[in-house]
């Protein structure tokens, strides 16, 4: 894998990670999108050096590996489906709470506070 590709993927992962450690669903979805792109680059890079498009009638030329491409194609479409779902979630969340923020886990908060009370 070319170092450029690896570093680009790393940068996408870093940016995505930074975004998903937040509360606003919009940012989280963007972060997941960036991580998805990074993962796709890794898959693409795993196929080795670039070559001609993988069609059987282009025999003779060095062909790029078709299998990672099939995996990436699948990943792109799945990311698309998940993004659509998450945006529907943000939409719903806003309709209910007027915000797309991911709240704290209420059950965890409750237990944590109950402990604090019993300790006090």
């Amino acid at each position: 894998m070319s170092p450029v590709l690896a570093i680009t993927a790393g940068a996408l992962f870093a940016a995505g990670t930074y975004l998903i450690m937040q509360r606003l669903l919009t940012r989280i979805v963007i972060g997941l999108g960036l991580i998805g792109h990074g993962a796709n680059l890794l898959l693409l890079g795993s196929g080795g050096p670039p070559g001609a498009a993988p069609f059987t009638d282009q025999a003779g030329q060095a062909m790029s590996d078709p299998l990672p491409q099939a995996l990436v194609l699948t990943a792109i479409v799945i990311t698309f489906g998940t993004t659509a779902f998450l945006m529907a979630l943000a939409y719903r969340s806003h309709a209910l709470t007027l915000s797309d923020a991911v709240e704290d886990d209420q059950e965890d908060r409750r237990i944590s506070e109950a402990n604090r009370r019993s300790a006090a």
């Binding site: 792109i76 479409v77 698309f80 489906g81 945006m87 529907a88 939409y91 309709a95």
Partner: protein, 145 residues
């Protein structure tokens, strides 16, 4: 979006949309031999629906679709699963490809194998997803809450 859209957008979409649809079907059919396939074709058809939505709104999209979006998804799944299972009955194993070669006018010789039918299912599911998103997320503001 009941507000009447601009005439330019409307006539534009009238001519552009069928073209995009035909191209999407073309991509679906030739996908086995050239760039294309069910995913790309489905997404392009979805893009066509997007154009329709932007120029004519939800109702326009609904009237254009032969089926309810969720039926499209269901039909697509049914087609793909059926094709996959046919291999069990007629072929040696699950997802065993069968093949018929057709010579279509203008398109040329295509091999309408079970792979193509399988891709038709994929196409329908993807179109169904885009259509669902448009119909649901594209609801007018006032009834959204």
């Amino acid at each position: 979006m009941n507000v009447r859209q601009s005439l330019l957008a409307e006539t534009g979409s009238r001519t552009v949309v069928p073209t995009i649809f035909i191209v999407s079907l073309f991509l679906l059919v030739v996908g086995h031999d050239a760039p294309g396939g069910g995913f790309v074709g489905g997404l392009l058809a979805g893009a066509a629906l997007l154009v329709v939505f932007l120029s004519g709104g939800r109702n326009e999209v609904r009237t254009l679709l032969p089926l309810h979006p969720r039926s499209l998804v269901g039909l697509g799944m049914a087609v793909s699963i059926t094709v996959a299972s046919l291999g069990l009955v007629f072929g040696s194993s699950f997802l065993d490809a069968g093949k018929i070669t057709l010579d279509l006018w203008l398109v040329g010789e295509i091999s309408a194998g079970s792979s193509l039918l399988f891709d038709v299912g994929v196409y329908l599911v993807v179109v169904g997803l885009v259509a669902t998103v448009l119909m649901e997320l594209g609801r007018p503001e006032e009834s959204a809450s």
